[in-house]
């Protein structure tokens, strides 16, 4: 109880290489466990943050950059999570990306665009701003009511 009270906020930085994905998973898992979030929370937060992080490294010029990405979680009263994601990549506004055509047949499906679509499906209240050298995205994951097993 006291431990989860202490861990209502957490923040961490990642360097600009995909080898950092393992650390991202650890930070997300630790926060979800300490905050006693529902079982889907680690999967969904990883899905969203991996997408943003990978985009920044592969396409945003963050490759090789020290502390390229900064993430902050705040636990909300209803079990939701406020997320602030920042990276020092080239300006990129995920909220302005066109939706992929999900009804297209297999041969015409474009491989790109899925990740941002999943981000929008998973998170609420996405807000983007360019703040100096940083892309800054704030968003919220709704808390989910779940009968906790065991």
């Amino acid at each position: 109880m006291s431990q989860s009270a202490l861990l209502k906020h957490t923040e961490f930085e990642l360097d600009g290489n995909l080898g950092e994905l393992g650390r991202l998973v650890e930070y997300v898992d630790q926060f979800c466990l300490a905050a006693d979030l529902d079982g889907e929370a680690p999967f969904e937060l990883n899905l969203v943050l991996e997408e943003l992080f990978t985009n920044a490294v592969r396409h945003g010029g963050c490759e090789g950059m020290k502390n390229a990405v900064h993430v902050r979680f705040g636990l909300l009263e209803n079990g939701g999570v406020a997320v602030e994601y920042r990276d020092r990549g080239t300006p990129f506004d995920p909220t302005s990306v066109a939706e992929p055509d999900l009804a297209a047949p297999l041969s015409q499906r474009q491989p790109g665009g899925l990740g941002i679509h999943l981000l929008r499906q998973t998170m609420r209240d996405l807000r983007y701003q360019r703040a100096g050298d940083w892309n800054r995205l704030t968003m919220r994951r709704e808390g989910k009511q779940e009968a906790k097993s065991i």
Binding site: F43, L106, S107, R109, L114, G115, H117, L118
Partner: protein, 105 residues
């Protein structure tokens, strides 16, 4: 971290995918699926032990399914857990590829 294993059962090439299909693992997964499609008339991708998939992992499966379609190979995605299934559904991939609860063999 991803682990891939391939075996042939009752005329199906079964590709078992374990662990996490993330950005780091996506190329390895795509290559394995393409290789299976190249050499077999029927491919079943067993996701029973897959705990996580991101859009990069989805793209790998999508590319495998596209290669299968182009070659006339039967391609099934089998046994995803609920969270993994949900990501396929959110992406609309359940409309363009066969996803089922059980392996065909």
């Amino acid at each position: 971290m991803i682990q891939l294993a391939q075996e042939t059962r009752e005329g199906w090439c079964v590709v078992a995918v374990r662990g996490r299909a993330d950005s780091e693992a996506a190329d390895e997964l795509e290559n394995a699926l393409r290789a299976a499609v190249e050499q077999n008339p029927r491919v079943a991708v067993n996701l029973w032990s897959l705990s996580y998939i991101s859009s990069a992992g989805l793209r790998a499966v999508l590319q495998g399914a596209r290669a299968a379609e182009a070659k006339g190979v039967e391609f099934l995605v089998c046994s995803p857990n609920n969270s993994v299934k949900k990501v396929f559904d959110m992406s609309g991939l359940h409309h363009v590829m066969k996803i089922q609860e059980r392996l065909p063999c």
